[in-house]
């Protein structure tokens, strides 16, 4: 749909994008400020970045957050893919509505409610089974719960648009349903698996509220440490850390998006060529 844009629409679009990006630009600029005073520009310096390396508390928290994020997003992608297959491929089964409700509710449920209810569950579970101890395990479990929701939604939309007749063709040719899925559909939905893993990873890495409730003594994730520092006011080393995280995540997302689009084009091209070759081979003579 290429039509003339009204100036008003364009203005609002630019304004909206400016609102989204201005704070980040300012934050990154000030992370290179030599002066520790937030309102004075004291020249360019990378001192806050080099200070980060010596902050043991931040490094430990970052390590814990990375471990949690990798574990939780990996489990969530598996559970989310299973849920997506169930919802897209099985038209009716007991608990289908419940599953739809449970994969969508975490997307809107205020984190503070999820956090408090899950903590109460864990506390009651410890009373009954003396498991799980609050810390890494409980943080991972609660992250898997909300990440599964995002993974399901992402994979589900991809699976809906995947051509099921290819899988049926594979089965007609004698392959079992599991094998047909693995060899035909899995490669098609692979980009969605990767992007949902990445999304889950960043969501888990970012979670403050739920982790604060369910974590135990000694297990502080990076957002928990950042929050307690930020609560005291603007600090230059957090500016540096925040810039690093934002740039790393932003860079990864852009690269991943680029790679996936290229892979997609490649696949389409191959399919097109195969189709052409097939047509040429089977073209009626003359």
């Amino acid at each position: 749909m290429e039509r003339r844009h009204s100036p008003l629409l364009l203005t609002i679009l630019c304004l909206g994008i400016a609102i989204l990006y201005l704070p980040i630009v300012v934050l990154i600029t000030y992370s290179f400020n030599a002066s520790p005073l937030v309102n004075v520009w004291g020249g360019f310096s990378t001192q806050w970045y080099s200070q980060l390396i010596h902050n043991r508390q931040l490094l430990q928290a970052a390590l814990l957050s990375l471990e949690v994020a990798v574990t939780a997003s990996s489990i969530a992608v598996i559970l989310g893919t299973l849920a997506a297959i169930a919802l897209v491929r099985f038209a009716r089964f007991r608990g289908r509505l419940l599953l739809i409700a449970m994969v969508n509710a975490p997307l809107v449920m205020p984190e503070i409610i999820t956090g408090i209810t899950q903590l109460l569950l864990f506390v009651s579970m410890v009373q009954m089974f003396s498991w799980p101890h609050r810390g890494f395990t409980t943080i991972v479990i609660s992250h898997v719960a909300f990440c599964t929701a995002y993974a399901t939604v992402t994979v589900q939309s991809r699976l809906q648009s995947a051509d099921q007749s290819l899988e049926e063709a594979a089965m007609d040719l004698g392959s079992g349903p599991a094998r047909a899925f693995m060899e035909v559909t899995l490669p098609i939905i692979a980009p969605a698996l990767l992007s949902s893993w990445l999304l889950n990873f960043t969501l888990s890495l970012d979670d403050l509220v739920i982790s604060s409730f369910v974590s135990g003594p000694g297990a502080s994730t990076l957002p928990m440490v950042i929050y307690s520092k930020v609560k005291l006011g603007v600090s230059p080393d957090i500016n540096a850390l925040a810039s690093l995280i934002i740039c790393a995540v932003g860079g990864c997302v852009i690269i991943a998006g680029y790679v996936m689009r290229r892979a997609e084009r490649q696949r389409e091209l191959e399919a097109f060529n195969a189709n052409q070759a097939y047509t040429a081979d089977h073209a009626p003579p003359g």
Partner: protein
Amino acid sequence: MKSHGRPGRWLIILPPLLFLLVFFLVPFGFALKISFAEVAARVPPFTDILTRAPDHGLQLTLSPANYQYLFSDEVYGYAYLYSLRTAFFSTLICLALGYPMAYAIARAPKSTQNILLLVIILPFWTSFLLRVYALEGIIRDNGLLNTLLLHLGLIHEPLKIMRTSLAVYLGIIYSYLPFMVLPLFATLEKLDHTLLEAAADLGSPPWRTFVDITLPLSLPGVIAGSMLVFIPAVGEFVIPSLLGGPDTLMIGRVLWDEFFGNHDWPVASAVAIAFLVLLAGPIAIYQYYNVKQAEG
């Protein structure tokens, strides 16, 4: 897929179903249970509602005291109303800002469209906490906005934005805008343009076409986007805590303080349950929309 036998199907369905059941749904039951308990000086810090009676039976003691307390202390009523009001107006502003944005993106040429979408999605991927913190750099007393306005001579003393309701509004709009734009874009993109052309051919002025065709057809996107902003915004904790002041008392903050400050788990549970009851309407609308989407 008929070739999937029953047992095979359940191998796929059960893991996510059971996991979410145990770790997402069942916890609400525990919160409900504990909201009827009383604070106790022990670990965990509340009484059992089920106790062994002297005649070896089980005795259920439900204490409505926590809920009575919610009604007797003004703080809770105030916080609920303040949260609902803040979330409502933030959602309206997000809609007013997000709709034209989504519309402009939907009408852009395909190549520009992908870039614009990435630009909108990117902040959603970057840390929420850090973006709220970054906003402080703009709106604090000696932040970019005040420095700029002072420099231009438009104001003579810094505007007080931090620690006010305005800061909370700005924070919510800034953080949740992508959640509004994306579902709106999804519906506007699918809009059948021949309908608009037909309306124009029949002499309908653009605003009329918009009101009669575009708006009703994009209603699912409006509802989805609004719910994705409104429901989490009501329970927002990070934004009022970092940008707000003592009078921006949102329910998320009250809950947090009740829990971490007063260590009153039963009252915190009661606040959470009452909160959930309050959100039942919007969540039901959102779920109805999802089921409809899923069933086609």
